[in-house]
Subunit: 303 residues, 2 copies
Amino acid sequence: MILTVTLNPALDVTYRVPGLTLEAVNRVAGVSVRAGGKGLNVARVLHALGHEVTALGLAGGPDGDRLVASAGIPAAFTRVSGETRRTIAVVADSGVTMLNEAGPRISLAEWSAFQADFARRAPRASAVVLSGSLPPGLPADAYAVLAALAGDVPTVVDTEGDALINALAARPHVVKPNTDELNRTLGVTSVRDGAMRLRELGARAVVVSDGPRGLHADTPEGLWRAVPPYAEGNPTGAGDAAVAAIAMGVVARWDWAETLRHAAALSAAAVRAPLAGQADHTAYRANLAVIAAEPLEREGTQC
Amino acid sequence: MILTVTLNPALDVTYRVPGLTLEAVNRVAGVSVRAGGKGLNVARVLHALGHEVTALGLAGGPDGDRLVASAGIPAAFTRVSGETRRTIAVVADSGVTMLNEAGPRISLAEWSAFQADFARRAPRASAVVLSGSLPPGLPADAYAVLAALAGDVPTVVDTEGDALINALAARPHVVKPNTDELNRTLGVTSVRDGAMRLRELGARAVVVSDGPRGLHADTPEGLWRAVPPYAEGNPTGAGDAAVAAIAMGVVARWDWAETLRHAAALSAAAVRAPLAGQADHTAYRANLAVIAAEPLEREGTQC
């Protein structure tokens, strides 16, 4: 069973508007609501592929109830007194404007309760996935604490900034930032340099997702790149699908070339799906047939 | 006891942002939530002045529960299966951008249930206030139906467009549009002409609120104007405070000059309060001391 953790989930609300005008009254033509959060998306993709998953996280208030009830996967969220946040995507013909709430402040007692819930389940898990931002009130090393509680169970971390840097002390099996997150976290623009730096800081392996340019892996077995066969589609949730495939590879003990091939194929399949946390299974199988992970030379070891 | 009706209430959410950028990710620095709706604001002002009120309306879903629980006044809302809407005010230094949801679709059965709830309470009321827009699914003559059910109980209507035009058939005691609503409803820019037209269409008396230019009343007793002593402040809810004073005048059987004086004084006091549905009582008393309703000549009857 794969455990996913979403400490700062959100009810993702989409407003369709004919147009969005600043400093005016805009009438919303359509509203849709969906449980959101990177860890939930990972769990959905795994669940849809037949993997046993449990989604853990923090939820509070009526929006927290709704989030858990509508997640569509086995979920055991720890209750908090604050209210689960919302994100609002205002979708106009001209583009999407996001309004992201920060999330409720988590007390130390709530954080302790979550750690206890996590510690009860983690030893029976085949892998643990820690995804997304930390809500206000949690220590910056929250992911390191959970990775330590998971002990020998392999841990995949998908976050950025202080939460990522602090997670590295626990030597997670895999970390998966995208290029923007890598840049914001380390100030580097080179995928190769950034991945190497994260390994130096403690990550056992690093996969960087680079949009249509594919996935770059820096691992103890070597370096690989896998490129998706197409770029068109909805990129939201593509990184979460890559994390789902990485967790599958960790559990099945695939070698890194095979894991990266699946990650690129599942990620590209997610780009073809209308919503984050979905992946087109036919596209996934078709992508697997055409994607190969290409080994790269480690710089400085070529001559 | 004064009954207020809010058929399309909203949970009013305020997002504070450093700035709002179109087609970008905007982080929300602060969130506040408040039960909203013109009828609720009228009831709050009346309640704060010691009047016995009951707020009726339609509410559904967790946001409906929260709306009723946080209204702060005696409320007996009829439950609907759809979810109470939200309005979002995105407040940046440069100004306020509104995103207004439309409200849930109301079924005929739910509308019948509301009418039954209303019909049980209206005969015991001293006045009925019908405020705001109609949610999707309600007939355009919904306010005329309620005014008819209220029978001899005086009815004050504050709405616009089709809902206003259709309400006039029931000969409401007072209708109170503002100048923008009057213009959108009748296509007229003259306050005098618009008020006269609404009386021709069935309103027994009309009060038009015209922002810092004050209130204009066209009544069977004559025409009056009352001007507030200052213009600075938060205009949201000023019209609702004017409606509250009109309801007080109807119940107390004040003459129109006295009613309009109170409406202007309470409305100006609301402008000094930070939130809609509040009025600064000290300012209200002070304003009463300096405001007089000035009688106007009816055009065409002067010579």
